[in-house]
Symmetry: C2
Subunit: 695 residues, 2 copies
């Protein structure tokens, strides 16, 4: 839908100016420099602007493909309306002074949004830098220079970051296809841009700088498709800002906006960059190099120490050092000097000629155990840096496996860098950067091959849940205790046998139903230390014991707590074995239902060893949650323990995911613990807490 | 002791050459370029070399301050001997072909070391690049250019890294005082260099690239002194290489060479860098900026988005965003435009003039809540980058708090970088780099103020331990079980009441001594499932029950296990409460006794939530181990639990440290668990395993 904007053949600048220092001046300059389409300056004073006759109002000229508005905020609504009346369908509001400053500004912004809706106008901004399409030679922004042509598209929530990226790209010769500054995102948001970049044939890599996301679920849906088609790399900043909402569960305590973004990005196959350098390094590499099939890298170097540093960086960043085949090693041994190292890292020695480098690269590339190579060259007294760079460029651009180059030094390396640059090959000055970039290529290869099966739909009793929730609403109850067990049951999640009973007959009957051994607890809102008043009886093994226990409670507790209102007793099956896990759900303001899985006990909060995922989940996602925690080992059966019933956990997670998706009225819940038994023996929800949304 | 070498007034080059491509040629060129002292070329062919008359042997010339040897390895021993006979006391062997290649080479190296010992010669290398002293204009290396003068000294185990650093420093205008390439470290090692750099008045910052350390304890001792005097920053590479020794305890499983280095560096106040970029950034900053008193930083910027990214980086790297005083905010509010942000990050807006930057810097610097500043400037359409750089240089060089600059961009920032560079102010292109560097300054401020109290010496019964160990040696036993309890007792560490008894009378007597309740276990090397044969009796509450239990075991077990040799029974006091922690010790090949502290249970290995420290420990170090683990919270009393007796843990750690230091014969041990009771109630070692060194 944004194509009309990027491909605009005519652009009106409303607020065009010939006064230096005005943004309306900068925009005109930007357009005039490269744009081949028609430029229409609009200024109430009229006259010529930069030699082009201007119009006092857009109505005077008539429809254009794109209107760029740079006038004071309070005048914008009227102007947008005029655009609408003129039949203009694409508008960029550069001007600031809206939602980001005060309520009056927010009011103007609302008016604009309303008008755009009425006239079916696509709106970028307000409070943005504008857009660039290098293939249309369009720089409708007040960034001074258009980017050079390339295969990367970029959207940014910060205008300053657009300026930084353009300046950075200029220095490092990085080209772009489309760039868009999103500003306040009153109209066009990230999802729209993602959709556009995904379809743009000039875009090979999608990149973004975001501080927040307007339409979480929409973003996930589109990004998931986009990332299968081309890599999506983004910076999400503001990760350390604290969530403000008070929460009560484990899940809620650990879950924060950062966990939600992490879960969402992982769900849609987005590569995350944590700095601008990473963003540009990854994007550039993704446009240039073939993807490695695995993470087994080889390091070819002329220097031992730096080779070790690179090895450290590789291992620490999740890559592996390839084990070279004996064939490769033999060939290297025969072709390299005696004191060279033919094990990975392959050390071709300080006096290596470009030919020797080429020989080593060639040999190592042919090894089927090698998925990618880092060529690491340091300036030693006899090193032919330029010659090595020529060889490096050849291999970097023509190999069927990625070959990333690190000419590691300073002044002497500049000539080599020039050679690489002339061949459009980036130099990763620090080997660590080469390592991280190669890891990004590897990660994208996994994403590309990732399957996204449909989320399963279980046969559940939705009506039962509906009526429980309605009942609670009627009673003005938001926190459900025992009652939420029925919700789990309706969704096919086995719960530990439990009953709330009020008479001795009922109690015995329920006990027989649940089975023994049982625990009985007094139920009273007034008794907090149940144990102290004899309100907890463990290990009840038959009807007789249940009876006695009930009678004992009803007789003695009122004596000890005469004021207490006793509602009845709770019976629960006692479990003798099992491993405790937690499955929880919170509703993230951006992405909606977020499921948490982790181990039970005090360690959850200390180590935060949990996994989050955004619902609805499919089986792969549910399984990844389980294998994704460190304590996962404990489920596999360690130290003589039998393995636990992992399929039951997966099943529970998936049913919970369906429940969370089906009922937006449920705000938060947590099964803590879900008791998981040995393989084949299932799992039972033992305790449960559910909080409904307040109306 | 190395001063004579760096300050040499005459240098002989043994193996000097006029043939390009020979290292003996490069060294001559290096010396001739800058050195003001006397240069004596030595070459068996004689004649003039680079215009200087050469000698056929060093003996022919006589003593010099320093001899640099660049001849084939097999000729080196004889030459070193000649040097010794001539009275030369300082030698650098550049030549390779020694220990690093084969056993023959190792033999030559041993011979050299022997000769140097005999003649009291200081030896650098072999297999190194040489040394540089910029203040003596001495470049006795085959690095092509001498470094520029500066305040950083650098030692390196990799010659290639020296070449990289020199090239890097040349590009980034970083100066050095002394540089030394250590090579095989047959003579001079890291400790010697540390000692020398510590005393060198031209050195403000000590830096190093190391792959290993020859003399661990010596290195710790000297570095501890050095780091109080000046910052020590180093790269230790090879961190991902795996230890080879098989180990049996928790402590041993988790401990690796990397944990030992980490513990050692933390013990001596060494700042660790993980890349060359970090190394140079930190060193340079430490020579330039005042140290921040705390970690509360302010960000002053002309851009919102990059400000958020910098905030993220700051928080993630252990810095805090300063809370500006209301006075500061008011002043900023009055002096800045309305839409500027006067909260930290202070956003002076995209159109900020240099004056406005200066005003903001000035105001924020005066705030007592601010310990340091990052000035973050991005190239926006109206930004006066050069003007801002002039202001930035002023504040960076003259403020009493550190002001680190990040001009964040590319081409447009180059002029600003030039201004900074002319003022010797580094530009941290990426704000994250500025953050990490400021953190290093902060870390050094803590190190500088760190106290190193003496390790306590407890009154212990060393003789008793000696005799237990000797006894074990005699019996050829290396793994001590129960017997090691006596070792703990001798070192004043309370152990749970336990006894090994063989008669009914002895058993009852011991039971009365230990106190009840007790557990009794059968002791037999042949019975592995004690419980199954009735070999474990819990909850024995009085002498009668003990008697019955004993009789029962002695009567029935022989019936079930007629072949088993029964040694007696073990009595142990049953503990009903307490928190389990682990205190262990392994002996690191480099640094010696390394103490581990962590929580008990299966989580130790999964989360590796433990702390290591090199013995002997002082009280601060022991306390830091305890507070350093994440699970520490569990000792402080959470969720209604009472706080645990932390002083008892500290005491046990310190006594264990003394034991480990006193008895190098003990190779490994672990108290697992040490049961810690509520505050004031002490701790007891419950189980213990000790392994002696094999002879």
């Amino acid at each position: 839908m944004l194509d009309d904007m990027f491909n605009a053949k005519s652009v009106a600048v409303i607020g065009a100016s010939h006064k230096k220092g005005k943004i309306g001046y900068d925009i005109m300059i930007s357009l005039l420099r490269d744009y081949k389409g028609k430029i229409i300056p609009v200024n109430p004073k009229g006259g010529k602007i930069h030699g082009i006759p201007s119009y006092t109002s857009i109505k005077e000229y008539g429809p254009v493909d794109l209107a760029v508005i740079v006038i004071p905020a309070h005048l914008v609504p009227l102007t947008v309306k005029e655009c609408g009346e003129t039949g203009i369908k694409n508008i960029i509001v550069i001007s600031a002074g809206f939602k980001e400053v005060d309520t009056e500004g927010a009011e103007f912004e609302n008016q604009i949004v309303e008008i755009c809706k009425n006239y079916d106008i696509k709106l970028v901004g307000p409070n943005c830098l504008g857009i660039i399409d290098t293939h249309n030679h369009l720089n409708a922004s007040f960034a001074s220079e258009i980017a050079s042509k390339g295969k990367i598209s970029f959207m940014t929530q910060s205008g300053a970051i657009m300026a930084v990226i353009l300046d950075y790209a200029d220095k490092h010769h990085i080209g772009f296809s489309r760039i868009i500054s999103l500003g306040n995102k009153a109209g066009i948001n990230e999802k729209d841009c993602m959709e556009n970049f995904m379809e743009d044939e000039n875009t090979d890599v999608i990149s973004a700088y975001l501080e927040g996301i307007v339409d979480g679920p929409g973003f996930i849906e589109v990004s998931r498709k986009a990332s299968k088609k081309k890599p999506v790399v983004l910076i999400k900043s503001g990760t350390t800002s604290k969530g403000s909402e008070a929460v009560s569960s484990h899940t809620g305590t650990i879950a924060g906006s950062e966990s939600a973004y992490e879960a969402a990005f992982s769900k849609c196959g987005i590569l995350r960059a944590y700095s601008l350098e990473e963003l540009m390094d990854y994007c550039r590499a993704l446009t240039l190099f073939p993807l490695p099939r695995g993470n087994r890298i080889a390091i070819v170097t002329n220097a031992g120490g730096p080779g070790i540093m690179t090895t450290d960086a590789a291992i620490n960043n999740g890559l592996e050092l390839a084990v070279l085949s004996s064939e490769t090693k033999l060939k290297l041994k025969n072709g390299l000097p005696e004191s060279a190292s033919v094990k990975n890292p392959v050390d071709v020695l300080g006096d290596a000629s470009p030919d020797r480098c080429a020989f080593a690269l060639d040999t190592v590339l042919k090894d089927p155990n090698v998925d990618g190579i880092i060529l690491l060259v340091t300036p030693q007294s006899v090193t032919d840096l330029v010659g090595s760079a020529i060889v490096a460029s050849e291999y970097a651009t023509k190999s069927h496996k990625p070959v990333l180059c690190s000419f590691f030094g300073g002044t002497q390396c500049e000539k080599a860098e020039k050679v690489l640059d002339d061949n459009k090959v980036p130099n990763y000055v620090y080997p660590k950067t080469a390592v991280k970039t190669l890891k990004a290529l590897y990660d994208y290869n996994i994403i590309r091959n990732q399957e996204y099966p449909e989320s399963p739909r279980f046969n559940v009793d939705k009506e039962a849940v509906k009526s429980i929730i309605e009942d609670a609403k009627k009673k003005n109850v938001t926190t459900l205790g025992l009652r939420s067990f029925d919700i789990l049951k309706s969704y096919g999640i086995p719960t530990v046998g439990t009953a709330l009973t009020t008479t001795i007959e009922e109690t015995v009957e329920s006990a027989e139903e649940i089975g023994y051994p049982l625990v009985m607890k007094i139920v009273s809102p007034n008794i907090s230390h149940k144990y102290d008043v004899g309100g907890i009886k463990l290990n009840l093994n038959n009807a007789e014991e249940v009876k006695t226990a009930y009678e004992d409670m009803m007789e003695n507790i009122p004596l000890k707590e005469p004021e207490a209102h006793i509602e009845g007793v709770q019976l629960q099956k006692m479990l003798s074995s099992g491993t405790e896990v937690i499955i929880g759900m919170v509703r993230d303001p951006t992405f909606g239902p977020m499921i948490m899985f982790g181990f039970g006990g005090i360690y959850v909060e200390i180590f935060e060893d949990v996994k989050f995922a955004i619902a609805p989940l499919n089986e792969i996602e549910a399984e990844n949650m389980i294998t994704g925690i460190k304590t996962h080992k404990l489920l596999e059966g360690t130290r003589g323990d039998k393995p636990k019933d992992i399929p039951s956990i997966t099943d529970t997670i998936l049913r919970i995911s369906q429940l969370a998706t089906d009922f937006p009225e449920i705000n938060e819940f947590e099964i803590n613990p879900l008791m998981v038994f040995d393989e084949g023996e299932g799992a039972l929800a033992v305790d449960m807490r559910m909080v409904l949304k307040k109306d």
